[in-house]
Symmetry: C2
Subunit: 247 residues, 2 copies
């Protein structure tokens, strides 16, 4: 039981996470800002102008507050990002529990995909924020719960959940990377991007060093159908879970 040894001392108070700090209900908060406002505004900025546009100054300005005023609510920019992540994970309801595990995981996967597409900056940030924001734990909890009736041990259940989540974030992350590239180059449609990149693609492939890749460029006809690719990959992953774990 490693979760109850040397801990619980008051000294841990200093190092408490945001979530811990903002739930202490004492101390009458006669505040003009709320953490929800901060999170929502930061998310709005990131959605509209990208994650780089979320600076403490811009955030404070948009909230009608001096820059340093934010630091009363937040320990630093990392906290802001953690609030943002948690906010969007909580924006839509929890993944609904379907009768069978497969439908539940599938629904959660498509839901996560939508979430990332709506907030593309999530992929830039997912590596730097702690994995313990409340809404993220809640989602994980729901998915774990949907597997509890199966004959799997706790470790395996977690692997199932993280495997699906990893597939989703990786796949959608690639799509998002393309979107960002398009935005940076100022093109709107995928074909325009291809036209713009045609020269360097020709250069790369013209060498004949990458024959299999070249085959894909020439023969692939669903390069733009990201939903099709996502669905095929996802069903593979789900099939694999069912096959290997015998469920």
């Amino acid at each position: 039981m490693p979760e109850k040894d040397q801990a619980g001392n008051g000294e841990a108070e200093e190092y408490a996470s945001i979530w811990q700090r903002l739930e202490r209900p004492a101390k009458p908060p006669r505040t003009t800002l709320t953490h929800e406002q901060i999170a929502a505004t930061a998310v709005a900025i990131a959605d509209e102008e990208g994650l780089d546009a979320v600076s403490m100054r811009r955030l404070a300005e948009r909230l009608g507050v001096a820059t340093m005023g934010l630091y009363r609510y937040v320990r630093g920019k990392d906290d802001v990002i953690e609030l943002m992540v948690d906010a969007i994970y909580g924006e839509e309801g929890m993944p609904e529990t379907a009768p069978d595990w497969r439908a539940t995981l599938r629904g959660a996967a498509w839901g996560l995909r939508g979430l990332i597409l709506r907030h593309p900056w999530l992929v830039q940030v997912t590596a730097s924020s702690g994995p313990l924001t409340p809404n993220l734990v809640a989602r994980t909890d729901r998915l774990l719960a949907s597997l509890e009736s199966l004959d799997l041990d706790a470790d395996t259940r977690m692997v199932v959940v993280t495997t699906v989540a990893s597939f989703v974030s990786g796949t959608v992350g690639a799509d998002v990377g393309l979107d960002r590239l398009m935005r940076r180059e100022g093109v709107a449609r995928m074909d325009d991007l291809r036209a713009l990149y045609a020269s360097r693609m020709m250069w790369l492939l013209g060498s004949g060093r990458y024959p299999a890749f070249e085959n894909y460029i020439r023969q692939g006809v669903r390069k733009d159908e990201s939903e099709w690719r996502f669905e095929l990959g996802l069903e593979c992953v789900l099939d694999g879970i069912a096959a290997r774990l015998g469920i």
Copy 2:
């Protein structure tokens, strides 16, 4: 054939990627720097002190060059990052082609895992760099080639490759996030991190809102065996590919 229409004009020269630019063999480079040096040094800094430590000033200093001197070789920091990514993708040989596709993909997956663990900053950067660096294309090409004898169309082959790669980067990305958290908190062993986080974990779970997650915390006994988790997840993914695609 979208890769040969309106392109090839000279005006594209201006927008050429770094890779294109540095392959023009003319112009006797009487240079004191090489792109390999720049990439290797930047990688070294990132490996030792993290990606944030890679600034143009530090990089130039370590190369014994004035800051702005770098801009003769590189259009900006984004180029440096692209060079870094390509450098590490090329550091070890290409994934070796095993007799059967499954062994090939498995080897590539474990190889990519090792690569990311050796250069953890890759996960912070993978979203922002273009997907067209030569060594990355080369790797993809090898994997696509290993699937060519199978009865799959080009689109499906690519889905197979990206599905495996997505699983790997997502799963290892989570591990790396934990590592970074440990480094930031200044602890060396996983148990120490757990001790440090025990309080906020207790707080999070004590509410009883996340029973399934709590079950995992209590019953999971392989939380530290990231290789075990990786292997199980990977075999699930491979099983799924075999099952769904009938190979």
